[in-house]
């Protein structure tokens, strides 16, 4: 169960004082909003823990990147969205898919590689899609989703809609050409896209300051895309501040760049140690103790009398239950059929000519 601890709202990050940090209006959040955020984050935490366990016993394969410690980002950035808004992410996207409304069973089944998974077991952990709820996929090539997000925003603009597209990226992705090409075009065409950096300060083992001379908030400067820095560990700020950005963009403010500062409690992927050469055990322990987004929210709610330990326990129990059911569902679900391999490579069978050249007959 989660422990009470003193609220630690400030992220200690070099240079953050010089950044155009937003002013947080957390006081405006209602009890219902806070409870929803808490429930969401509990779900993500328990989901990711389960994914980690299942990975350890070989139920999940390939690469698997967890959001443990970064739950406030999906909760804070996606909860303010409408159903027909779009979200697109990286290979670290389980919780974003959940936040946008992809059912936990379907996500877990995908991790298990089952036919009932979001991609019928063909995508895996890095490629969760839920286009019916506007979740436009997890993408594995660093930076690749940035250009795609531009197109989604273009689609909104083309049709004159009032949706927004939130494009998540890691801090390391800003060094890809795709990032700059995307921001530049979004700027000249004033597209409704928010580039939300899940800034955990590391790309695998590389600290951001080693691969950029400038601060994150400077990275959109070449393109005239406004930058904000928001706290991604205190979900109340994340939610309030990001929600404000969303509404501005919906009203036509054009592309925005948001540095959502957060911290990854686990390794880069399941095969990467939690700490090691690139960050100390002490740093990780400190953060885990003092910057856990769930703790921070609970502490606030306890202090304000909006939550009792019993209520928390109950909600947490519900989250665990949902995740347990998802894992059971995934476990029981059938394997995909070999036929499915050829079904979605092209969206329809071509009446003429040959499309596949492997000479295999199924």
């Amino acid at each position: 169960m989660l422990q009470r601890s003193s609220v630690e709202q400030e992220l200690e990050r070099e240079g953050s004082v010089n950044k155009p940090t937003m002013t947080t209006k957390t006081s405006a959040l209602s009890k219902e909003e806070l409870i929803e955020l808490l429930k969401q984050m509990l779900l993500y935490r328990r989901f990711e823990e389960k994914a980690g366990e299942s990975y350890a016993i070989g139920k999940i394969g390939g690469f698997c990147h967890l959001h443990i410690g970064q739950e406030a980002v999906a909760a804070g950035c996606i909860t303010p969205l409408k159903k027909d808004d779009y979200v697109i992410g990286t290979y670290r996207e389980h919780t974003q898919a959940l936040a946008k409304g992809v059912p936990p069973e379907a996500v877990m089944a995908e991790l298990y590689g089952k036919a009932a998974g979001t991609s019928g077991g063909l995508g895996g952990s890095m490629h969760i899609f839920g286009t019916d709820v506007g979740f436009m996929g997890g993408h594995g090539i660093v930076g690749g989703q940035l250009a795609v997000a531009l197109g989604i925003a273009w689609g909104i603009h083309y049709r004159g809609g009032d949706q927004v597209c939130v494009c998540f990226l890691g801090d390391a992705a800003v060094n890809q050409g795709a990032f700059h090409e995307s921001l530049n075009m979004a700027a000249i065409w004033n597209l409704p896209v928010i580039y939300a950096v899940e800034n955990n300060d590391f790309g695998m083992g590389t600290k951001f300051s080693r691969v950029s001379k400038t601060a994150m908030s400077q990275k959109s400067a070449s393109h005239g895309v406004p930058a904000r820095v928001i706290d991604g560990q205190n979900v109340m700020s994340t939610y309030a501040d990001f929600g404000e950005v969303v509404e501005e963009v919906r009203k036509g403010a054009g592309p925005q760049f948001v540095d959502v500062q957060c911290y990854r409690f686990k390794g880069h992927s399941m095969s990467d140690p939690v700490s090691g050469t690139y960050r100390s055990k002490k740093e990780v322990e400190d953060k885990t103790e003092n910057a856990d987004p769930i703790k921070i929210l609970c502490d606030h709610m306890f202090d304000s009398g909006l939550l009792s330990p019993e209520e928390l326990q109950e909600m947490d129990g519900e989250a665990r239950e949902v995740v347990k059911r998802a894992a059971e569902f995934a476990e029981a679900a059938p394997e995909p059929d070999i036929k499915s391999l050829y079904e979605n490579v092209y969206s329809e069978a071509n009446p003429n000519g040959r499309l596949f050249f492997d000479g295999r007959v199924i």
Binding site: Y86, I88, G117, T118, S119, G120, G121, L122, G123, H127, F129, G130, T131, D132, M136, G137, H139, G140, I141, G144, L146, A147, V148, A149, L150, G151, I152, A153, W154, G155, I156, Y158, G177, A178, E181, S182, N184, M185, I188, S340, L341, E343, N344, V345, Y346, S347, E348, N350, P351, N352, G353, R354, L355, F356, F357, G359
Partner: protein
Amino acid sequence: MAEITYRDALNQALAEEMDRDESVFLLGEEVAEYDGAYKVSRGLLERFGERRVVDTPISELGFTGLAVGAAMVGLRPVVEFMTFNFSLLALDQVINNAAKMGSMSGGQVTSPIVLRGPSGAAFQLGSQHSQSCEAWYLHTPGLKVVAPGTPADAKGLLKTAIRDNDPVVVMESELLYNLKGEVPEGEEFLIPLGVADLKREGGDVSIITHGQMIHVALRAAEQLAKKGVEADVLDLRSLRPLDVESILESVGKTNRAVCLEEGWSYGGVGSQVVSVLMEEAFDDLDAPVLRVTQADVPMPYNKKLEAWSKPSVSRLVEACEKVCYV
């Protein structure tokens, strides 16, 4: 039937499909105000406005990704690469996103995108601007590739490509833009993907080719005819899907084949056609299938060396004679 240029045929195809379907739009460098570097999009800006005919910055990766994203939300983008040489910069978006997303999303996403522009060498543009780009795209399942060699094929294939629900790469040729030919009228003039066209019927040897090389093949066939060798000139038109049936039919009849292509040989189109013949027509073959390709060097600037490097009528004639043992 009206005689129009290959350029105008493409232009008509674009205009008709944009007229028919509001979700079709064209984007690329200089396609709008400048009417396209090769004027294929002439007049489209005026007719359809800047919402649907979009000048982009020189950001090939970025605007190709834009097309992928726009297709995900239901639009049908047509991307013009000023030339396909520049598309190498965008290849990650084409291979890793456009081609794979259908499969990796379990069919949730489709990518009805057309990527078009001139490929292959024109005249003396040097190695960076004179590359045949078929091979990059053909290797990858999830993509379709066509290469029209006549105005009618250009119009019919481009229209079909725009209506297709998968990414289709349309490789045009700078050397063909001014070529005139009869083009059937009517909005419903479509040429299905995956259907080759026997541009000349011979019977003694099959020349299997595509794109602007069909004209080299037709000239070679005339010369061969004078020597008593009658060649089938099979224009593949569509390279993926590939009309294997027509290839096998022609070679089943002639028992001899030469593959002609503009590009390099290692892993080129011809190597795949040879492999198909090896696997499926081995017993039909009375002689090895030969390939005539570009010299295996970056295309030189010098005029004579460039001409020498391109596949020529005389090399093709020679290869045909060789397989006919004449």
